[in-house]
């Protein structure tokens, strides 16, 4: 299970403030803290407060600051291709581009970009019509992403498909559909694409957020989830991922399995 720390995101007030003041301290703090907690990647998102024109410069700055204190690669998260490319230009290691949709015009931007920078690419199972409700419709869009990858000679195993998790309080019926979609994505091709969810979205504005997150993570892992963007401060969430890996026989059991999961 690959965990991506969600915290360097302008959606959070302290990050938004740090971006506004170009204060590297807060960014460094979260880069280090998530690294110490066992993250494998750092998500980098400029957030809603930054104007489209400023996004490339902010993305570049966030990526540089985060990687100045952490050895981890980043998951460059933006709806603006210029911002993503600005991050890729200064990124050290192999980045994840977050993300393209299944729209043709977007795939024509992002697949060549991912090939050029040797990056992984997240593909969302949505298009201009929005997020589909059923697993079947998600899979149809996943297939379009797979075809997009093949058209651009992009390795299928570097394509990371996100079946889009929605909050349990307002879109409860999506919960099992995402799980079924994960299962089916894994049998689309051989080798199959990888899979990812933005986990915290499942509990947006809900009570007992940590419990919902942990439970859903484990359910998704059993269905074939490879990556998750998560709150790395939730120690028991990381424990749950470690336990699920053992129970799914993905990692050989030893008494220190919680520790070895974090040390990878």
């Amino acid at each position: 299970m690959i965990l991506i720390g969600e915290r360097i995101n302008g959606m959070f007030k302290d990050i938004a403030q740090a971006i506004l003041n170009r204060d590297p301290g807060v960014i460094e703090y979260w880069a280090k803290r998530q690294t110490d907690n066992g993250a494998h990647y750092l998500d980098i998102n400029t957030g809603p407060a930054v104007t489209k024109e400023d996004q490339p410069a902010v993305m570049e700055w966030l990526t540089k600051v985060a990687q100045s204190v952490s050895p981890l690669p980043c998951c460059l998260d933006s709806a603006n291709p210029d911002a993503i490319e600005a991050g890729l230009k200064v990124h050290r290691g192999r980045a994840i581009i977050n993300s393209t949709t299944a729209d043709k015009w977007k795939m024509e931007i992002y697949f060549p970009m991912a090939v050029k920078y040797n990056a992984y690419l997240i593909g969302l199972t949505m298009n201009e019509k929005g997020v589909p409700k059923s697993a079947g419709d998600r899979i149809a869009l996943a297939m379009e992403l797979v075809v997009g990858a093949e058209l651009h000679n992009f390795p299928i195993e570097d394509l990371i498909i996100d079946p889009l998790v929605l909050p349990a309080n307002v879109a409860q019926e999506h919960g099992p559909e995402v799980i079924e979609a994960l299962r089916q994505i894994k049998i689309l091709t051989d080798p199959p694409p990888r899979t990812i969810v933005g986990l915290s979205n499942v509990s947006q504005r809900c009570a007992e957020r940590s419990l919902l997150n942990r439970t859903y993570l484990v359910m998704c892992m059993a269905a074939g989830l490879d990556y998750a963007i998560v709150n790395m401060d939730d120690e028991m969430l990381v424990d749950a991922a470690a336990a699920a890996e053992v129970l799914l026989n993905q990692n050989i059991y030893c008494d220190a399995f919680l520790k070895t999961f974090r040390k990878r």
């Binding site: 990692n251 050989i252 059991y253 030893c254 008494d255 220190a256 520790k259 070895t260 990878r264």
Partner: protein, 314 residues
């Protein structure tokens, strides 16, 4: 139509261990694919073979095994020199005399033998205790200190005595063998515990406790295979080279001990085959250091490995 060889892309590799020092040093491990799949990955080092030398005359070695060492078995350093002549890559000194049921020799006596043997040969040396956990925890740290700087391979450390043995190896610059009887979970845990004593992962070797052909070899084989697949998939705590004590198992078998007979043929040929086939099977699941007893087994094993290490040109 063009034929494309399907290749597995592994995320991890076996760590590379150096045993000994200078020109005589031996390297094991380092591969990033399954044994001998040269087309798929890098296999920088071949499996190596050690011959056993004891600090006392082994009481139960059959004549066909003892005869190649006639005249030297009461003198460990002369015995070790003989093993070098036979072509051993390493000497495996077994301190059987420290066993309370044998001579119950002291740490000081063990140190004397180990120093003498280490001084007599210019190939790397392994030193193995008597197998009694408490006694090994006294003897092996003393040997580690006496052989400081030799970069030897000492063992075996168990879950009950690893602290004393591994700490001494860290302190005096040796590699350590972590042993766990046919238990992959314990093997991984022990590697973690030893690593936490500041022992780098490339100085830990694993002994899964192998069985001889016909005597449970398949259990060890599958455990080694599972550990290796996990190591190549990125599990660093199972990515250590594996040591197989083949001679001690093969020469316990009825097939090796039974004398010449019409039905089973000549003992020497049969016993050596038993040891060779056990060893050549175990290298197929990742054995890196094979500890043998008979020099003819060593010779045949090395011919086999040399052939397996040749890359077939396409």
């Amino acid at each position: 139509m063009a034929f494309t060889v399907l290749k597995e892309k592994w995320a991890g590799n076996v760590v590379e261990m150096v045993i000994g020092q200078g020109a005589g040093a031996v390297k094991v491990g380092g591969e990033n694919t399954l044994p001998f799949l040269h087309f798929e990955g890098e296999i920088p080092n071949a499996p190596v073979a050690a011959l056993e030398v004891w600090d006392m005359e082994p009481p139960d070695w059959p004549g066909v095994l003892a005869s190649p060492f006639a005249g030297v078995m009461s003198d460990p350093s002369a015995w070790a020199v003989k093993c070098v002549d036979y072509g051993a890559d390493l000497i495996c000194l077994r301190l059987a005399g420290a066993h309370p049921d044998n001579k119950d020799s002291s740490p000081a006596e063990a140190v004397a033998v180990a120093s003498e043997v280490a001084g007599a040969v210019n190939i790397p040396i392994m030193v193995i205790g008597c197998g009694v956990e408490e006694k090994d925890a006294e003897v092996l740290p003393a040997v580690a200190e006496a052989l400081a700087g030799k970069n030897a391979l000492l063992g075996c450390a168990t879950i009950n005595n690893y602290k004393a043995i591994a700490a001494a190896c860290v302190l005096h610059g040796h590699n350590v063998i972590a042993t766990s009887p046919l238990d992959i979970n314990l093997a991984k845990q022990l590697n973690i515990l030893i690593n936490e004593l500041n022992m780098p992962v490339n100085r830990i070797a694993m002994d899964p406790l192998v069985g001889a052909l016909g005597y449970g070899i398949e259990y060890a084989y599958s455990i080694m295979e599972r550990a290796r697949l996990s190591a190549l998939s990125g599990d660093k705590m199972l990515a250590m080279p594996v040591v197989c004590f083949v001679g001690q198992e093969a020469w316990k078998s009825k097939e090796a001990k039974a004398e010449d007979s019409d039905e089973w043929g000549a003992q020497a040929r049969r016993a050596i085959l038993w040891e060779v086939v056990t060893a050549t099977s175990l290298v197929q699941s990742g054995g890196a250091v094979l500890v043998l007893r008979h020099p003819e087994s060593l010779r045949q094993f090395k011919i086999h490995v040399a052939a397996m290490m040749k890359e077939v040109s396409s």
